[in-house]
């Protein structure tokens, strides 16, 4: 058994009480959601915090998937398993179920949360890539109930760094819903439950004439953060979906990302995967948008 250094522990009773505690304790304190990223780091003593504020009691308040007319709102405490099992979410954004099927294992998915995944800001985090692909925005709440909304591009400031400040908390993620959309996710892993060697998400919205009204691609594990690639969107706009177009998008993905050689694979291979998976997910997203 790997044992962490000593820390104080408190269960949150409400969002604002948790934010109050964060404010008072400063950066010696951390929220713990599913704990599946934070606790392993603490057990390995790569991270040591004096206080943990457990926000699991807030699951009733922050665990939800709500469907509004033009957006889907997901509470920060919504667990991987809930995201995986929601048929409505799979209908609106099949990319979620694609991704959740290949995130970790059932034990981790039972506890791990959307909020924790985004706030961990690991460059390989799958849900970050999903949210980047879907052009999500994040609702951050601060002291006195002040809320601000930031897009994914600003949310991730660097590896393991987010726009959430001391005394703030991510409470909700909003996903815009548009007509004739399709999305998909593909991940290459060395073994089930492993972090991605590379993964890619794609979302496509078609115009009535069948051309691409909008398209987005999000990649994980190929740079300091999960990356959306605007150049790909620009290349696809207004075009009729076709293999050559996906190839072009794949080539852009391969050259726009910034992977590093490590035990998961060589830089070359990862660039190749960025290309391959971009093509595959675009192809599937278009198929889904058409049906």
């Amino acid at each position: 058994m790997q044992v962490p250094a000593p820390f104080e522990y408190e269960r949150a009773t409400s969002v604002d009480q948790a934010i109050g505690l964060l404010e008072r304790l400063g950066n010696s304190a951390r929220l713990v959601a599913g704990g599946h990223s934070l606790l392993p780091m603490m057990k390995l003593r790569l991270a040591n915090f004096e206080y943990l504020i457990d926000i699991n009691p807030l699951h009733a308040e922050l665990g939800y998937i709500r469907f509004e007319a033009d957006e889907v709102r997901i509470g920060a405490m919504t667990r991987h398993r809930e995201l995986l099992e929601s048929d409505e979410l799979a209908a609106a954004f099949p990319i979620f179920r694609d991704a959740e099927r290949v995130i970790a294992d059932p034990v981790v998915r039972n506890r791990g949360t959307l909020g924790g995944s985004l706030c961990q800001a690991d460059p390989s985090e799958d849900l970050s890539a999903v949210c980047t692909t879907l052009d999500a925005s994040c609702v951050i709440r601060g002291p006195g109930g002040a809320e601000r909304v930031v897009g994914m591009e600003e949310f991730h400031v660097g590896p393991y760094e987010t726009a959430v400040g001391d005394g703030e908390m991510l409470i909700e993620v909003r996903l815009p819903v548009r007509k004739q959309g399709g999305s998909a996710y593909e991940k290459v892993e060395r073994r089930a439950g492993d972090w991605a060697v590379v993964s890619a998400g794609a979302a496509v919205w078609l115009a009535p004439d069948g051309t691409i009204a909008d398209a987005r691609v999000g990649l994980a594990a190929v740079g300091p953060n999960t990356t959306g690639i605007p150049e790909i969107s620009a290349a696809l706009w207004g075009n009729t979906p076709a293999e050559e177009l996906y190839e072009q998008a794949g080539a852009i993905a391969a050259r726009s990302c910034d992977p590093a050689t490590d035990q998961r694979g060589s830089e070359d291979y990862k660039r190749h995967l960025a290309d391959e998976l971009t093509r595959r997910t675009l192809r599937k997203a278009v198929e889904r948008a058409r049906s």
């Binding site: 058994m1 044992v3 035990q263 291979y269 998976l277």
Partner: protein, 797 residues
Amino acid sequence: MTTVQEPKTDTFDDNDQKPVGYGRMLRKEDPRLIRGRGRFTDDVQLPGMLHLAILRSPFAHAKIVSVDTSAAEAAPGVKAVVTGETLAGLGLAWMPTLSNDVQAVLATDKVRFQGQEVAFVVAEDRYAARDALELIDVEYDVLDPVIDVRQALAPDAPLIRDDLEGKTNNHCFDWETGDADETEAVFARADVVVQQDIVYPRVHPAPMETCGAVADFDAVEGRLKLWSTTQAPHAHRTLYAIVAGLPEHKIQVIAPDIGGGFGNKVPIYPGYVCAIVGSIVTGKPVKWMEDRSENLISTGFARDYIMRGEIAATRDGKILAIRTNVLADHGAFNGTAAPVKYPAGFFGVFTGSYDLEAAYCKMTAVYTNKAPGGVAYACSFRITEAVYLVERIVDCLAAELEMDPAELRLKNFIQPDQFPYTTKTGWVYDSGNYEPTMRQAMDIAGYAELRREQAEKRARGELMGIGISFFTEAVGAGPRKNMDILGLGMADGCELRVHPTGKAVVRLSVKTQGQGHETTFAQIVAEEIGIPPADIEVVHGDTDQTPFGLGTYGSRSTPVSGAAAALVARKVRDKAQLIASAMLEVTVADLDWVKGSFQVKGDPSKSVTIQQIAMRAHGAGDLPDGVEGGLEAQICYNPSNLTYPHGAYICVVDVDPGTAQVKVRRFIAVDDCGTRINPMIIEGQVHGGLTDGVGMALMEMISFDEDGNCLGASLMDYLIPTSLEVPDWETGYTVTPSPHHPIGAKGVGESATVGSPPAIVNAVVDALQPFGVRHADMPLTPSRVWDAMRGRATPPI
């Protein structure tokens, strides 16, 4: 020798209640394990017990300048802090390894691998002990490490083992087998010679339960009680007696339930010795359980062989000779477990299942700044490496000859009438009948159909591969005339006692780590004396309760202790027959043994059951002249030879041409382990071993960066396969009994681990044939397969 065919049924049929021993039967140990009632080392709780944590070196190679423990000693809850210097004062800073080398218990002069033990803390709880480690201040003077094994013998390589007198380089040992000149002559006249460099990377057994111990030293009685994760409790006890100078009769080693061993729990680790010292120093019981990272970075690894294989053949595919040159990485201390006369274990069986004219191996073993070991992961005494080498190189030859690899193997098998067969490296294969095993695997696979499918797929640009491996193992060490570990012979004791009511207890020297001894051994005894397996208690793992023997590893339990159990049961049966003859008032010769009772020949109405005999043996009334009361016996079995199980494995893979991911679609395993005792347990062993094989072939490797940092220090970095990476296993069997084993059993514990990696790698290489790939080293991760597809397959080290 007798052999009993298993009943042709898939049901369990209350076999545990029947006097017939062999056949499918649920495992006797499972109810307690499944219901959480297993008792593992970490479950041991004693009054006043303290906890021990070990400080480990962050560096691969460094001089220890100073160690300051004052802050740690003052920390709350801390009872003792012990350094290498403290141990040196007690003469315990170094201990012998299983290969007659020495290993530091706690480093005194230098640290020689990352994760090496430097000091330990004993405290009131595990947290306090671990927290106090952070307060120990060690000053290191960092030295250049030797990480690249190929550079270990370079003249300017840093010297690792300056503790060994007169040592001037990192050479560990040289070893050779076979005839160099004869082999050279055969190679010189061969039509075809193929050469291939092949790496078997360093892997780790990663048992679910890490290593640990609870030591309880009673200073008044001078008695040491040690619960520990050991596959060989008796061997450990003797070694503790020798190392620590404690009298052997005052040491009790108990191996409680073990959560997987795979050879990882064969060596004596510094942590066990630290726990003993901790208990002596504090006068309290002390528990040490290593954490996952400690297990992965510091305990016995396996493999790490860099091999050059060469094979010589005629143009029409008759294999003539195999030659190999091996560079073996033994880490900082030679901790390999192998019989003394076999420093490279049983690597000598690299000649495989083929009838050769000549063979030769030259091996050089070196020290590097990595963890010691070399024993583990279905340790198999290096047969895993040998089988991988021969089965890979035979496939390379098939590619060169453009011959089907199944056909090439069939053409070269040792034939049934050649057994017992002496190989060119001196091993005497006891029995074998290879072709039916191979044909059965090909039938189950639908081999011809698979090749047709492959041809069609290739035409469409799809990548499908079919890989074959055929192995012969040498297990069941071993005959005491030439096999011992640190002077301890590899014979096994066994004791059997039948109670008055006809229930029995059998005491073994071997120890299960999950293999199912409590069931298999009850069945072996049941088969011989007709007492149902459910009525036979199997006692093992406690040196005070069991006879001496060398433990469970190298697939030796059934070949050695299994024979002992059968023979001790026959001894008891012979005595029962004497008593029965008195009870039935006939001569011994007039009695027939019908499972569970003796009957008067020709008059089945006159019979006595083994239970009635047991009561008579303990009861009132006269026994025949010269027969003592009681019904029990003991034995020490010394095997006359090893046993040689074999098997044919076929693997089918699909490789995604876009991502280079390998999917194992099918795996067919036909094993021949001689007489089959419990087919369900055999299949379990095979399933587990095949899964191991998928891990090694596709994902597992302990690697290091150039500074010697271990890159596989957690299960996030060191991957082991899950059920999602493996197909439904398709198993079959043939039965070729061992002629010298009393029940003809050969052992199966490691067969699948040994046999499966080459089948998988051969399948992947076969899939990549359109890219001109002839070899690619494990682990075949997607990235490495992609490199191979691009014509730049590189060794992993």
